[in-house]
Symmetry: C2
Subunit: 205 residues, 2 copies
Amino acid sequence: MSKVGRPRNQTARRQALVSAAGQAITERGLEGLRIKDIADAAGVSQGSVLYYYPELDDLVLEVHRGAVEGYLESRQRAYESAAAGSPAARLRALVDSGLPSSAEDSLHGLLYQLHRRAGRSPGHAELMTSLFGREVGLYATALEVGAAMGVFTLAASARDLAHGLVALEDGYGLHIVSHNAAVRPERARELLLAQARAVTGCPDL
Amino acid sequence: MSKVGRPRNQTARRQALVSAAGQAITERGLEGLRIKDIADAAGVSQGSVLYYYPELDDLVLEVHRGAVEGYLESRQRAYESAAAGSPAARLRALVDSGLPSSAEDSLHGLLYQLHRRAGRSPGHAELMTSLFGREVGLYATALEVGAAMGVFTLAASARDLAHGLVALEDGYGLHIVSHNAAVRPERARELLLAQARAVTGCPDL
DNA sequence: CAATTGTTTGAATCTCAGCTCAAAGAACTG
DNA sequence: CAGTTCTTTGAGCTGAGATTCAAACAATTG
């Protein structure tokens, strides 16, 4: 028996399809997702889309996974490369990277779109849970480091505070991408920072 | 010219259709919404649904409006009938009425479903904005009354604090209805109360 | 190169749900 | 009651989009 008649670039193709699907979802929403749009965006035929993803849900789940991964990486990067590396700077970096920059922030928009499936699909719920957990982890670490260095005076356990900050971030983010005029990104950022200040007792945030 | 040949119960019918549509959305989600389901739930034919709502979007918007209204009334009621009428009891009532009681809480589920349209439909965005504003109002009033009575010592302006509490509530709520296992209703309630305690300086919350 | 297996295409087909519409029914008018 | 207008129905039409599939095409093997 031979190896593979036509190995090729399955991985690359899948990657391209995931990216194309993400783009399509961003543009027309989850309910407006059409195989044709994915195919067009990826520059292939409809048949090819089905060849790789006979079950469209699998593709959407991949998109979700990719969005979560990418988002987390970007936050991680922001966190690590925070100027000075001071606890305050790091925490500020987290806050800055966690809010949609505007109502049309596409990464946040995509994430909130996909999160909506969580109520009906265990796979998506798992991704959302994992994202939440990892974000809490980031914040908790930042808080603990700051406390250990004596810069922060935590008002409660780092874990609980982190929990709250992430939830707050999500709440504000939801309103921002939903075009709630009463929640402007700048204001949300201010309020989030105020909360961070309050729970850390650190004035220079 | 005569009055109305066949006046009847337009209002009642519309009401029934709105309620049926709400039920259908709750059961199968916004993307799974089918005229047939609405018709069945309302006990009429498909034609009737179109007769009253040639534009399905209008019906969905009505559902949203109704859900927002109903939700707000229930919170208002909870607020007003809070035992003792003490500021602390009132605030607690707000917190209790603002979180989904479980992942399957149907009113909250419906609201979050409909809020998702806000990103693409001004009408829905408006409803969401109005809901947010009114919730902030409720919290702000509760905080101000408590402050005026000397029971609360506000850590910032009542408005900003209320803003934050509502956003936090929404963040937790989102995770609860999304089946995020890390955010259980009981825990969310605890954390939300802790936050309320922190910003009011009132220990008996 | 012949054989084999993986990949791609797009036209044909299937499916489902929205929408149309003519006809029947019901409440009201005078 | 006859006339008028509002309401309701549901079978068929229509269209969009998913799915199928046979045929063409490409990389790899020996």
